[in-house]
Amino acid sequence: MPNAPSSSRVDTEAILNGDRAAFEAMVESETPRLFHIILRYVNDDEAARSLVQETFLQAYKNLDSFRGDSQLTSWVTGIGINLARSWLRKNKRQQPMDEETMERLQPDFRFGRYTGSFEPWDPEQTAERAERKELVHKALDELSDSYREVIVLRDLEERSTKETAELLGISRGAVRVRLHRARQALRSLLDPHFASDFS
């Protein structure tokens, strides 16, 4: 359970009462988890480190606006996600993929059957590890944020559908649909590189 909530060291009441030591204890226990999620969003070490710091600072300054309808740690994670999103907007994304392109990357069906055919993949044989990673990141970067972040939270963070829905403020159904569409789009983008029959 790499991401099981570890709120044991988080004394929410003390933190909300302005106990700085309690806040710093949360910083200590939450930093690793927060660093990973932000790193998974931005894929940039330096940026992730400074965004972690910024997240805790914003959390500290805005403690009054925590309404207690979620765990304090989830609220902090939400701040981190928002900062990571705006960092991406400023620094990385070229043209986010539109819905029409997204639709084109989904499989087509006719009378309930796939219209296309598929060759088995053999990623280990067709690309070196470093190259595989690069291809995947390129494909991930093509997805629009709303699809990419569902991949980050479900497939990388391995958060549950429920937790993902809460963090993103969308329904569980929407999480499932987005995840499926995002994976299918990635599959289409990666297909030319990994089909074993490439002669």
Binding site: V27, L57, R132, V136, D191
Partner: protein
């Protein structure tokens, strides 16, 4: 009779499109026993869906393999915690009243 056949088909045979619609739930282990059995019966008899499932799973594995966090020890060093704490201490608002700590 026709109704019976339709019902029979619905219960026993899924189309490729229906199988596709169940992929996320299947991979997540969320399908009920009956649907899972139908799903697997279809997959066993349909090479296209079998290959698609293989690619769908490989996509997830490739994403996990490319996880930026793989390049970092499971717990980032205490250095980041220290950096963060000293960053915060530089930025905390000066206390507005004389609350003792």
């Amino acid at each position: 009779m026709a109704n019976f056949l339709t019902e029979w088909r619905r219960r026993w045979m899924l189309t490729c499109q229906e199988v596709n619609g169940f992929l996320e739930a299947y991979v997540d282990g969320r399908l009920d026993t009956t649907t899972k059995a139908q799903f697997e019966r279809h997959i066993n008899g349909c090479e296209t869906c079998r290959t698609y499932l293989q690619q769908y799973r490989a996509t997830i594995d490739l994403v996990k393999e490319a996880d930026p966090a793989n390049d970092h020890p499971p717990e980032p060093s205490d250095a980041l915690v220290d950096e963060t704490l000293s960053f915060l201490r530089d930025h905390y608002e000066p206390p507005t009243n004389n609350a003792s700590s």
